[in-house]
């Protein structure tokens, strides 16, 4: 009797908490939308104003405005609790944007650029892992922190670090060190990558590939690409997606390594492990591109899907600024940051060399 009463009381509690969770994200999502739209408004307003007054004013993209407004709010007044749950949805908007972006790729482009990206990704991951491991040993970082930094900088930033956390049984402190270093370096890349590319007069495809290969976190890689041009943003997402696809293999290799040393649980079913760690949104991206390849949508409908993807990214860019807190990052200590920064500079040079080489071979 008591069991029946308990189970019947579970339903309303469950639906009530689900409803509360759904409502709790509303203020934060509105904040993301407001900041993103403010960035879009500022870009248009400043351009029109400068033109009307015959000013020479650089075109600052909405992406940068959205990030800067987010950074200003997050690092001055801070983010009130009521917005936090909604702001945390920025990763959902990022993945939604990527899946929808699949509609703007012809399958042949995905295969060609994705193939080139995959070849470059394999080289990039191998060299990055070796480099970060070497730097970690040189600077006497804890071995598991070195592993996390190597995984984060070679594959896909925060998601890869979180995926690796359980697999290699890393300590929470090491995880937050590695995430802080990757996020700080991602924020720096937003400003340095486009500036270097402009100085080198890189074309959209080359730059997009470089941003996708060189910037670690998917949100920052997407933003760094979009800061250069719309076309570069598309390519950056494709290259980053190819890099994300490798997450399972890299984490599995580290899990096996640490299990072999008796410091992590052994992996019994490798195929199940790989599937669990595989980012499923990549399949959605490919499916969307496939649907467009089979002419499931008209030209106008493809444009609408592309615009929906841009709106989703707009919320992501606002989230990138809001969740980057320089005070929190500075608390994490200097050594992991120095190792990360050195590694990132070397990886950026290396990937730039790879892209320039690929451009010569395949004429991107």
């Amino acid at each position: 009797m008591a069991t029946i009463a308990a189970s019947s009381s579970l339903k309303p509690v469950k639906s009530e908490s689900a409803l509360r969770a759904a409502f709790s994200i509303v203020p934060g999502v509105f904040l993301l939308a407001a900041i993103g739209y403010a960035g879009k408004f500022l870009e248009r307003f400043l351009n029109t104003y400068a033109k009307a007054h015959h000013w020479v004013f650089p075109n600052i993209e909405y992406v940068l405005w959205a990030i800067l407004i987010g950074l200003a709010i997050g690092n001055t007044v801070g983010l009130p609790k009521v917005f936090q749950a909604g702001v945390a949805t920025y990763e959902f908007w990022l993945k939604l944007g990527i899946v929808l972006l699949g509609a703007r790729f012809v399958l042949a482009d995905v295969l060609k650029l994705g193939g080139i990206s995959l070849a470059l990704v394999v080289i990039e991951i191998t060299l990055s892992l070796a480099l970060m491991t070497l730097l970690g040993r040189l600077f006497k970082l804890k071995p598991k922190l070195t592993s996390l930094l190597a995984i984060g900088s070679s594959v896909c930033g925060v998601s890869a670090i979180i995926a690796a956390k359980g697999a290699i049984d890393a300590e929470d402190e090491d995880v937050s060190f590695a995430i802080a270093a990757i996020l700080a370096l991602g924020a720096l890349a937003l400003f340095t990558f486009p500036a270097i590319a402009h100085a080198l007069h890189m074309n959209d495809v080359s730059y997009g590939l470089w941003a996708g290969l060189g910037v670690d976190n998917t949100a920052e890689a997407t933003a760094a690409g979009a800061l250069y041009s719309d076309a570069a943003g598309k390519v950056a997402v494709l290259a980053k997606t190819a890099r994300n696809a490798m997450i399972g293999f890299v984490v599995l290799a580290y899990a096996i390594y640490w299990a072999g040393r008796g410091q992590a649980e052994a992996v019994t079913n490798k195929a199940a492990f790989l599937w669990k760690k595989f980012p499923k949104f990549i399949l959605g991206f490919l499916l969307m591109s496939l649907l467009v390849g089979f002419h499931a949508f008209s030209k106008g409908q493809i444009a609408s899907l592309g615009n929906l993807s841009k709106w989703a990214f707009l919320l992501t860019f606002a989230g990138v600024g809001l969740r980057t807190n320089f005070r929190d990052i500075s608390k994490q200590g200097l050594r992991p940051f120095v190792v990360g920064a050195l590694g990132e500079i070397l990886i950026a040079c290396l990937t730039l060399g790879l892209v320039i080489g690929a451009n010569r071979i395949w004429g991107l």
Binding site: S9, L305, N307
Partner: protein, 44 residues
């Protein structure tokens, strides 16, 4: 006490679908809405 426990249990439970799967489902729903002209000429 019991309601507190059941609420915390349900909150602690991992979601049935991952964030990736939700993103794919919502994207496909939007694609269907565009395909069947429920969402038309989305501006930018």
């Amino acid at each position: 006490m019991s309601s507190k426990t059941s609420a915390s249990t349900s909150a602690g439970k991992p979601s049935l679908l991952s964030l990736d799967t939700w993103a794919v489902i919502v994207a496909l729903a939007l694609a269907l809405a565009v395909k069947f002209d429920i969402l038309k000429n989305v501006p930018w």
